[in-house]
Amino acid sequence: MAMALRKIGKDGISIWRRGFSSTSGLESSSSRDATPVNLFTAINQALHIALDSDPRSYVFGEDVSFGGVFRCTTGLAERFGRQRVFNTPLCEQGIAGFAIGLAALGNRAIAEIQFADYIFPAFDQLVNEAAKFRYRSGNEFNCGGLTIRSPYGAVGHGGHYHSQSPEAFFCHVPGLKVVIPRSPYQAKGLLLASIRDPNPVVFFEPKWLYRLAVEEVPDADYMLPLSQAEVIREGKDITLVGWGAQLSILEQACEDAEKEGISCELIDLRTLIPWDKETVEASVSKTGRLLVSHEAPVTGGFGAEISASIIERCFLRLEAPVARVCGLDTPFPLVYEPFYMPTKNKILDAIKLTVNY
């Protein structure tokens, strides 16, 4: 799959293209028809298919019926009717709880939280109800049909409340799954898999990539497996792990490191909880070094869990401490966003430090 990333910022960053090849883990589609689409279109296609294939699935959230603020839900209300695709009032807690109730009665509730920053009022419902529903009812009821979709991550000018990455909070909750795609092809497959998975899933979409990421996506219905990481790039000196929009930054760092003779293996975790420890362990056993990178602040971010688990499993094999190149421990800043973010250069420096440890 060739993925073209076109960066067209408001300040006119120059346009560049690069391709990277995916290797393992691809589920092939049953049809050969594929079109180049961007992330929000891929998600839109997934939602159309999901609603088409199950008459008891619903999409709701703030402003979804006209298409959503990111256009992910365009056309759904027109095609499936306003009883299945509808706007909710501004109450995230209500939206989440309501979705749990729908799911508990066997429906597929696909709720949208407009920005991941706004998910915190819903956090109580998700942690205390959604995650524990099957467990505390002894499997009498479950809310597996629940999928919460939310745009997350930095967008260049979002500031404190339009840029957060709250995935770590949800990874700490047994009973929930957290899935984050890196590209349009992945997004469609992972979203369909998440919707059909019999567990509640929180699906974070990297908002920076909504328009910027363009990829060939099959028109047909296809799913990608959850809890399976994907090795995007093979290497032998160091393993890099990331997810979502951060992967494109890691990819750039890999290319730069290649020029300095460091061969990097890049892994997309795809599902953060439950995460694919075996793939990462196999990779680190091969390379002996690990670097994790994410936008969320470093302390208590999901990188910490990966680091701790890998050290448990690969202690004797590790040649250097696990490096984490993440956001700083401050609230997501407005003007300082370039300093806060784990940029390519920070990652490159960490790669070199780790390799030369």
Partner: protein, 431 residues
């Protein structure tokens, strides 16, 4: 879908406070004269029957055939010349500032999510110009004009929008987070509904100072105003605070700027009972509906609500029917609102209405108003120049103010305090 019509509904018996034209002699007199007016309104209001879709209560201010604002039914103006000019200047400042924001945004000087207040100036001016310096204002992301009305200098607000170190929050808040300790502006909240509990706490503090610490002022309690929109009125935090405020009789006024739209969600389609003022009596406080496009009416309602709060009689819920002339934010294409709805409200532009009022009552001449316009243009230009020439915040500011003690970041691997380590903020990031 928003079946919004300009049909005039005859003023119903309950919310008499809507029209300031109803002077002594007509039934709503009890509003103007009795201190317990709001109490009588609050409990009597639930009984009337209104047809649901015609939620919009028309005002007598600017209707299609009249050109005079309602208050001119009597020959005496409702306000003095000084007050009228003050209100005019404040509204023009709000409008000119927001227009300049739009220009600067499209020129790339301002970034992020910017939400403009055009059209709603009467609410901000009508309420905030009655406040003292020690009264508090809590707003939403549409907060530039609230900050300006409260007295934050235009320079500081513009610099904040540009992200400069001379901004009111030293460039760290941006458009949606205007704070000022000097002027008691408690923010700017990007997240809807989050400011209301904060305002409730501030009101509690004012009451505590007055009653327990006995730091009373001759004019009474310090009042807190919480501004928020129609979408917020469906949020749990709003209801929780209505309950707490009435329970403890806090000096707070909940001002709903009902502009009928929450981004793309029409209020009429999101709310089971679109008449927000009714939610006040459900909690035991007066609920008032006022025409938010008429600054004099807003001011009249505000006067009574603020006086009530200062006397310690507790909170009031005021619903202002208003409209935003621009989209939700500068990134909003604003495709969903119908042109005739926009035209209806554009005809009720509060600044034009006040201007007509001033001229018709002889409070000032056209040229005096024009000189105010010119003065405000100069103020806004100066603000832009100031913001342009101000420095960006230094990198070291990135780590400040996360905790009270900047050393709260602990000690790094080299044994020094992390916040003092230049590499901690630099990394090797090339910007």
């Amino acid at each position: 879908m928003a079946a919004f019509s300009a049909v005039k509904i005859p003023p119903p018996q309950f919310t008499t406070v809507r029209s300031s034209s109803q002077r002594p002699g007509s039934s709503p007199a009890h509003f103007a004269h009795s201190p317990s007016a709001f109490n009588s309104i609050s409990f009597g209001s639930a009984k009337s029957v209104r047809s649901r879709p015609l939620f919009a209560v028309s005002s007598d201010v600017v209707s299609s055939d009249k050109t005079k604002p309602a208050s001119s039914s009597s020959s005496n103006p409702a306000v003095t010349r000084e007050v009228a000019l003050e209100l005019y200047e404040d509204m023009v400042l709000g409008r000119a500032f927001e227009d300049m924001c739009a220009q600067m945004y499209y020129r790339g000087k301002m970034f992020g999510f910017v939400h403009l207040y055009n059209g709603q100036e009467a609410v901000s001016t009508g309420f905030i110009k009655l406040l003292n310096q020690s009264d508090k204002v809590v707003s939403t992301y549409r907060d530039h004009v609230h900050a300006l009305s409260k007295g934050v200098p235009s320079r500081e607000v513009m610099a904040e929008l540009f992200g400069k170190a001379t901004g009111c929050c030293r460039g760290q808040g941006g458009s949606m987070h205007m704070f000022s300790a000097a002027h008691n502006v408690l923010g700017g909240f990007a997240f809807i509904g989050e400011g209301i509990p904060v305002a409730t706490g501030a009101a509690f503090s004012a009451k505590y100072h007055h009653e327990v610490l006995k730091q009373s002022k001759p004019e009474g309690l310090d009042v807190t105003l919480a501004f928020f929109g129609d979408g917020t009125c469906n949020n749990g935090q709003f209801f929780e605070c209505l309950n707490m405020a009435q329970l403890w009789k806090l000096p707070i006024i909940f001002v709903v700027e009902n502009n009928l739209w929450a981004i793309g969600m029409s209020h009429l389609r999101a709310t089971s009972d679109p008449e927000i003022w009714k939610k006040g009596p459900a909690f035991g406080m007066p609920g008032v509906h006022v025409d938010g496009m008429d600054v004099l009416k807003v001011r009249e309602v505000a006067q009574e609500a603020i006086a009530r709060a200062r006397r310690g009689e507790g909170p009031t819920l005021v619903e202002c029917e208003t409209y935003r002339f621009r989209g939700h934010s500068l990134a909003d294409p604003d495709e969903l609102r119908k042109p005739d709805e926009k035209a209806h409200y554009a005809a009720r532009d509060p600044i034009i209405a006040l201007k007509k009022y001033i001229i018709e009552h002889g409070l000032a001449s056209e040229s005096e108003l024009k000189s105010i316009d010119k003065k405000i243009d100069d103020v806004v230009e100066d603000a832009v120049e100031f913001a342009d020439s101000s420095p960006l915040p230094p990198r070291t500011q990135l780590l400040e103010n996360v905790f009270a003690d900047p050393k709260g970041f602990g000690i790094g691997p080299d044994g020094k305090y992390r916040c003092e380590d230049p590499l901690f903020t630099q990394g090797t990031a090339q910007v």
